[in-house]
Symmetry: D2
Subunit: 341 residues, 4 copies
């Protein structure tokens, strides 16, 4: 049972969480900054169960969205809106402190890291706003400078790629080409708004994109895969003056060589999500201009989270995108647990 340890902390009783590709990387031992035994999870929705004396914006019982980034809001970097690089926080949940795949979680810098939700909110949709949607928007759409009337390629039709597909449409590109090796996912992409799909990451895919763009290449390439093949594909299909945005999973140290790009005025952008778009995305969901629940494919209860991980890890077979993990109300409230009954 987590406890308030700083005046700006809140303890949230979780109601829903989800699993991120990064969680799989941690379990695979590819995130050395995360110590063994850590409770995973950096996404979710819940209810404020306890708060420190320095918390100004939230009260006990408030329904809240948890941001994957815990930012102090005061340091030099936070003032430049680089919350992911907060000198006091950053990506802490399920990484350097225990995370959200639990009944309760401690949230540092709560005023800056939680968002008030209406009681009747669609929690499935809103859990997507903890990480995957702002990541796709900030690292993909903003980093890739998607613009009205231009052409976008999204490499990878997993959860991040599909989220990028949804939010890229907010900027009205003329065409969105989704590229993946899984035909079933490509069909889903069409349903979510792709104007064209291309099967594969190799030479045939390259040729297909070049043909589709009449030899010009795309204006924006969003790489959600982060492997050599996707990097090479981005380099091959990006047009003159184009922009490559890397949105690979947190733990992938991809080789993003840019040699030979110089002759085409290319800019490459790689960033962690700062969750500066969360309020805007909440507005879009509230006004029904965006429906992130379309990413949700499976539901599990917290006591079956191992099945949830299995389903998410084997997405080619299960066709999983995002799996929701529902957290039932605890049999006793937090105080009861603390009291040892």
């Amino acid at each position: 049972m987590p406890r308030i340890s700083a005046p700006t902390d809140v303890v949230v009783r979780m109601t829903r969480t989800t699993i991120c590709g990064t969680d799989l990387h941690i379990l695979g031992g590819r995130v050395p900054t995360c110590e063994p035994g850590r409770v995973l999870g950096h996404e979710g929705v819940g209810v404020v169960a306890a708060k420190g004396p320095g918390v100004m914006m939230f009260g006990i019982g408030d329904k809240v969205l948890i941001s994957c980034i815990s930012a102090c809001g005061q340091c030099d970097r936070c003032r430049r809106l680089k919350y992911s690089r907060c000198l006091c926080g950053g990506w802490m949940l399920g990484h350097t402190i225990d995370g959200t795949q639990a009944e309760f979680v401690r949230i540092p810098f709560a005023d800056h890291s939680l968002y008030l939700l209406p009681d009747e909110a669609d929690e499935d949709a809103l859990v997507m706003l903890s990480d995957v949607m702002p990541t796709a928007f900030e690292c993909g759409v903003l980093g890739g400078q998607v613009q009205a009337g231009r052409t976008v390629a999204i490499i990878g039709a997993g959860p991040v790629g599909m989220a990028a597909l949804l939010v890229a449409q907010l900027y009205a590109p003329a065409a969105i080409i989704v590229i993946d090796m899984d035909e079933a996912r490509l069909q889903i992409a069409v349903g979510l708004g792709a104007t064209t799909t291309v099967d594969g990451l190799g030479g045939r895919a390259r040729k297909a994109v070049v043909d589709l763009t009449r030899g010009r290449g795309v204006d924006t390439a969003i790489d959600t895969v982060g492997l050599p093949a996707s990097t090479a594909l981005c380099r091959a299909i990006i047009g003159t003056g184009g922009r490559i945005a890397s949105v690979a999973d947190h733990a992938v140290a991809a080789d993003r060589c840019l040699e030979h790009l110089w002759d085409r005025n290319i800019t490459a952008d790689s960033r962690l999500v700062d969750t500066i778009s969360t309020l805007m995305l909440l507005n879009m969901v509230r006004s029904e201009k965006l429906d992130p629940s379309r990413l949700v494919t499976h539901h599990f209860k917290l006591d079956r989270i191992r099945d949830a991980y299995e389903t998410f890890a084997h997405s080619a077979a299960t066709r999983a995108l995002k799996v929701i993990v529902e957290v039932p109300p605890p049999s006793t409230d937090g105080r009861g647990l603390a009291g040892g009954s």
Copy 2:
């Protein structure tokens, strides 16, 4: 019959044109820079009938869109993309030289002022790209900095306001409030994508917008009316940090006082269209993301252009938005006319 008078001229045989509110201002004597006897019209689609030796990009027989702005592309202002302020050109057609409401028209600086169209193009839709659509986009949406998730008010549901309604949606605002005194037009606005409509320009309208925005005001106010009542309404409903964009008709010298705005960090922007967005809008039409033909309400032949003007001038009664004027092929071709056979 217009003739090539500079190496960079083209003569276009018109196939379709339309009427702008500015044309009414000229007829009303409110545009002193336009001399009596001028052939009006600065919008249209046609076919290249003759070209000067300096024209590089177009050939006889090409179907072309005519931009309302004729820009040299070489002067200091054109290099800053301020085509409307071109030191050699600017708004010339139907203003300082004869315009497009005719069988033939001379287009100066043709390489920079025409756009190649495919033969099978929907001409009704494309005539909207000569002026009303780029004006709504550049002066309204860009000038007003419409952004995803924010709130926009459009004052005036005439052709420019309706065009602004269509193109504002390219930037995914959470809400677009259309304000007008004509209930019929407001119903059309709902069909074109308005999330709310407000009837009237006075105190009740003001209160309605304030209530709709829970006291915050709107982030962007686009004034397509340009009269004291609309200016006052913009000032009253603009929220902190907001942006007022003036897109009034060419000849309206509106009083856009900004007193008392200082206390809310307001920026006011007024500009003529530079037609820098024409290529992008053509892309959007081609990829079926935008359908400007929804602004077209009436069709006339060129020999009934007086009826077209009547219909357009009395839009409250006729419910006209944009009226298309079709130009039939001339009985003889241009050369024949010139030769006097």
Copy 3:
């Protein structure tokens, strides 16, 4: 003696403060939101004497710069960096709570509203960073989009105008024209970097600027006067595509009519300072690229603050720009006072 009243408060023992034109407006009864009896002052440097339990970034004894804006850093507006419009704070000091022209002052939202200074700092220079320098930079240079190679006119050679003159040079305009009616101030402006000066606000001044710019007008006009004559002058001298920035004193409700500007693509910007540039300006002072102490003309002790006000209020006679008010160490420390010894 002010006391900690919220966990995020700090009490600062003042060492230096100054007087702003806004203070004169308050004394003249032109700021109705400020109640009688208020201790004035929103600028200064001092030492942390007491702190609330929620203050993370500062400790007792730290030397600090006080920002004129007290911002919570957490609300929707703060997250958009609109600190002046903070929903919890904003301009509070010497306005809605007691200010800095005193031995001690309470600073709300201290983590977000103070800046750590090195002990050996030049306090005269740094007091200028509480308000006048960020105001000139944000409202004038950013609001007016000063750019390399372009032409700037600054209307008014008072403290704000002179500060704008200093910081405009950070953006390398080709020419800075300073306009005022006081010949002595214009001479000082030349010493501070003006490339040309113009005497007067009327028709002759207008003609002088038009001639200097060979008929083009200026790219940026920064109005630090905010009276009808300066507004009219800005309108007359602004060039095509130009930008007018209003940086008038806090309490001036100027009439900034923009009629007849539409024909030149003008943007008008008016904003309160958000103090988002304070860290940058501190860097510039530290690296000796900027010397704001050049604005300081007079020094007084706190017990002679009436003389300081007289000197500042009659600047035409005294040639005052900014007057520093030094606050000597109290005879007893804060604790002593509180304890009643």
Copy 4:
């Protein structure tokens, strides 16, 4: 003797030209797109000797600056101001057509590729505006987003690095660190405005920059070397949220790997110069805010151009930065030559 071959051509009689590192790459066989026998040179100043009928902006006898980029101004890319990628032109001079190291040169798209100079212009200074100054400004300062108060590292103190040093100061960074292996050049850099210099490109240089920035790294790294060592150094010293700009010589196909940058929100930008800043730089020279003649170290006559190349190629020994090649008036004028009198 070059001749007018298109209506938009001009023939310029050269008065001054210079040598670029790219010319050495061509001579070294590293620019396969340049055919043997080509007259080299893409920089220079001269006088209009002949003009085609489509040239609007220049007359015989005009003194002109020649841009290294010949852009049509009409194509899709030119309208986005991507002149280097002009679909009809681009880098042509001394590459795909004969260049400026000659008595006469043909300039395609003259209206868009020449700039009128006053007769009394300092030609040494202005030759620097053909290529090296806009390259340093656009690819280095704009590409690297140099900002007021931030820290910049420039790798390489050759002509491009020194030019970047001059123009970076237009944006008022707090510190500019120049890094090179040649101590003599570093001393020159101090004279041109470097706040610190660092000797070497290896581990010691890396440590020096890290120490200078107190572990934060620099905000902008401008790589004018383009070799693996400089690329590795940029990666090592760039701070969180920083920007790497590649401004290597035209023909260097550098390996600019970006692996391991993802964890610091880095953007990498590589572009060819578009010469969109030429007019601004001309303004800065005219208003004496910028003196590019400080890059000039040597002068030669055209008949000793081999010595000029030798001097430029062995800059470590000769301490050459830019070498001016003066072109004396031809013994007979162009007409005479053509007419054979």
